[in-house]
């Protein structure tokens, strides 16, 4: 005499599927084509021209966004303080690969004129590992107090953590470290500059015209390829993690914490893994950007940076690796190429306006975001599971359509 539950008939009306309908071979070929184009692209542009510079920045943002996507997209933990890891990664370079600690005289794996400069100078690859470790520790520290919190509260705590790091960065020139007379924590808004260039243990293909792997301000191509390599490695890592035991646990946790815990998924550990992985990836990008810009300046670590990266993730498609890549490229290029470089060329009096279009940068930016969110709320390249969650709620009438006043 069981009573039929009203939800009994509900599911059969619509079948959801994770299959996007695109055969895997098409996806693989598309990836291959895009990868080859990306590798050869620098030859199409002037090695010191603006677009090369914008592309390198865009690639650094792709890494950043992929890292944030692990936290927000995979594990569903809203993080508004991601700039903290940009800062920690950048300071790892400032500390371990510059003349900042002038009392020290440590050189590890570096060659050339740098060996004559005091300070700590480690090879960039070592600094990358250091940045990852520093950021992972930072990620765990930010993670621990948020573990008992949910949703919006996590966002507030992470936001505060980002601000704390920024305040430390700004005022770090007042903080003395216990070693050496002049050793400070940071250089505040004056910035630590210059920072060592990347040196890779690669044969320098000695074509004097190209100098393929000589990092420098006059040849941006090696920076580009290095950033691209980091993007590929990051992609590999996040995809492997997504399709693993840990990735499953993240989805479970995101969908239903109570059920996940009851199935034996340790909430604390699983969340901390997400924070640590996301932080480490952010640190890689931060370290790269510091070295590329050759400065570590406290002014770089603003709250708006966190929002910018978050916008990339959401615009591209929360949880969708490829979407996040698209979102990051798009927003970064709009921000650093389209608005300043292209709109500047629009004549001032074209629309009878009394100001330059570039002055409207943020307005244009916001408008584009708004359009995308209205037309495609699940992002440009939606993650299937997220999309189903979203549509399932709408199908089930769980939105507030009925609320009329």
């Amino acid at each position: 005499m069981a009573i039929a539950n009203p939800t009994d008939q509900a599911p059969s009306t619509k079948k959801y599927s994770l299959d996007s309908g695109i055969p895997p071979i098409v996806g693989k070929l598309a990836f291959l084509a895009i990868a080859i184009f990306a590798i050869l692209m620098p030859f199409l542009f002037d090695p010191i021209a603006g677009f090369m510079d914008d592309s390198i920045t865009a690639l650094a943002f792709v890494i950043m966004a992929l890292g944030l996507n692990v936290v927000v997209g995979f594990a569903g933990l809203l993080d508004l303080g991601y700039v903290a890891f940009f800062a920690l990664g950048a300071y790892s370079v400032g500390w371990f690969a510059s003349g900042f600690f002038a009392d020290a005289n440590v050189h590890i794996g570096v060659t050339g004129f740098i060996t004559n400069i005091p300070g700590i100078h480690a090879n960039f690859l070592i600094v990358l590992v250091a940045a990852m470790i520093v950021c992972m520790i930072g990620g765990v520290i930010i993670g621990l107090p948020t573990l008992r919190l949910r949703g919006d509260y996590i966002a507030i705590v992470t936001l505060a953590f980002g601000e704390i790091i920024r305040v430390f960065a700004v005022n770090g020139d007042q903080i003395n470290l216990p070693f050496g007379e002049s050793a400070k924590l940071t250089a505040g808004v004056n910035g630590i500059t210059p920072v060592d260039q990347v040196q890779l243990p690669l044969p320098n293909f000695a074509d004097p015209g190209i100098q393929l792997f000589q990092f420098g301000q006059l040849n941006l191509r090696p920076w580009y390829w290095f950033a691209l390599t980091l993007v590929f490695i990051t992609l590999f890592v996040v995809i492997r993690l997504r399709d693993s035991r840990l990735g499953r646990a993240w989805i479970a946790l995101r969908e239903d914490e109570v059920a996940a815990a009851s199935m034996g998924v340790p909430l604390v550990k699983t969340k901390l893994y997400a924070y640590a992985v996301g932080a480490a990836i952010g640190g890689v990008s931060g370290a790269f950007q510091a070295s590329y810009l050759s400065t570590v300046n406290a002014d770089q670590f603003k709250f708006s940076f966190s929002i910018f990266v978050l916008a990339m993730v959401i615009l591209g498609g929360l949880g969708s690796v490829w979407g996040v890549v698209v979102g990051a490229l798009l927003l970064s290029l709009i921000n650093s190429y389209l608005i300043p470089d292209i709109f500047r060329t629009v004549p001032k009096d074209l629309f009878g306006l009394d100001f330059e279009l570039t002055d409207l940068g943020f307005g244009i930016f916001g408008f584009l975001l708004l359009i995308v969110m209205v037309l495609r709320p699940e992002g440009l390249v939606p993650e299937r599971r997220r999309q189903i969650e979203l549509h399932q709620d709408i199908d089930a009438g769980e939105t507030s359509f009925e609320v009329r006043t």
């Binding site: 539950n5 009994d8 840990l246 059920a259 815990a261 009851s262």
Partner: protein, 286 residues
């Protein structure tokens, strides 16, 4: 069982132990209780949801908790699985005090559950759901997952294989293994939830109203499944159920809660005749 089958099984067991986390089986003396709940009490603010319940779950048994809506049955369940920490009292599982232990640790020790309002991971397939259930049996960490070492690869494969076996065991058709959980019919969702719980290889399975929303035929099948699981998997089942037919049919012992208090306990037939129980369900007579 033929000798070759036995050899097969022991070979598979060896393979299992190689890939998945070895499970230390705590042996209890015959007749010792699997779980012992002493004076469990849960107070929310001024409301006493569960009051001073002492309860024993024997090994290899099916016992039920019944009671009108709001009697505190689910709160009681949540205490046993670690979701709530008891305000007072003690819970002993396999001879160990597990009062206030985290849910994932209790699950690892061998308590698994289903939920009254199904809580499957909707956008995961039936098989993936069962694979999450095996989380405690797996070892793959961050580095192993990134590098996808042969060991991690074998583990994934094995977990997938076991997932299919368990789904088949609870009677899911092969064609639904890769269906998303939200696409499944209500009865199938219930079945997948049981499969997911079984995946952690529990000694104690807690079923929270498993037949809710099922037709009599499906309920009957489920009763059969419960008996089969108890006998073949050597586990105990604690059942919360509204369907009296199922309760009377399957349980060896029934406990009745009302307003958080245990008002009766005993064999199904005895409990049914108990005036206190009749009163709780139907109101005071006369």
């Amino acid at each position: 069982m033929s000798p070759s089958e036995a050899a097969d099984q022991s070979a598979r067991k060896a393979k299992d132990e190689d890939v998945l986390k070895p499970r230390k089986r705590v042996e209890l003396a015959p007749g010792a209780p699997l779980m012992d709940i002493e004076n469990a009490t849960k107070i929310f603010g001024g409301l006493t949801a569960v009051s001073d319940i002492t309860f024993t779950i024997p090994q290899n048994a099916i016992v039920s908790v019944i009671g009108p809506n709001g009697a505190g049955k689910t709160t009681f369940f949540n205490m046993l699985t670690g979701l709530y920490k008891p305000s007072m009292g003690r819970i002993v599982f396999l001879g160990k005090d597990v009062t206030g232990t985290r849910p994932d640790i209790i699950t690892r020790m061998g308590v698994a559950r289903t939920f009254q309002n199904i809580r499957l991971f909707g956008t995961m397939t039936a098989l993936e759901n069962v694979m999450v259930g095996q989380h405690t049996r797996m070892r793959a960490g961050v580095w192993g997952s990134i590098l996808r070492t042969p060991r991690v690869r074998r583990e994934e494969e094995r977990v997938r294989e076991i997932g299919r076996e368990i789904l088949a065991e609870v009677g899911m058709p092969k064609s639904s293994f890769d269906q998303l959980a939200i696409n499944l019919s209500y009865g199938d969702q219930r079945r997948v939830e049981i499969a997911r719980a079984l995946a952690s290889e529990p000694r104690l399975l807690l079923l929270d109203e498993p037949t809710a929303g099922m037709n009599p035929n499906e309920s009957h099948q489920l009763t059969g499944l419960m008996r089969k699981l108890r006998d073949e998997r050597d586990l105990s089942i604690l059942l919360i159920e509204h369907d009296m037919k199922v309760v009377m049919d399957v349980s060896e012992r029934v406990t009745v809660l009302d307003h958080g208090i245990k008002i009766a306990e005993g064999e199904p037939t005895a409990v049914r005749a108990d005036p206190a129980v009749v009163e709780a369900y139907l109101g005071k007579q006369g």
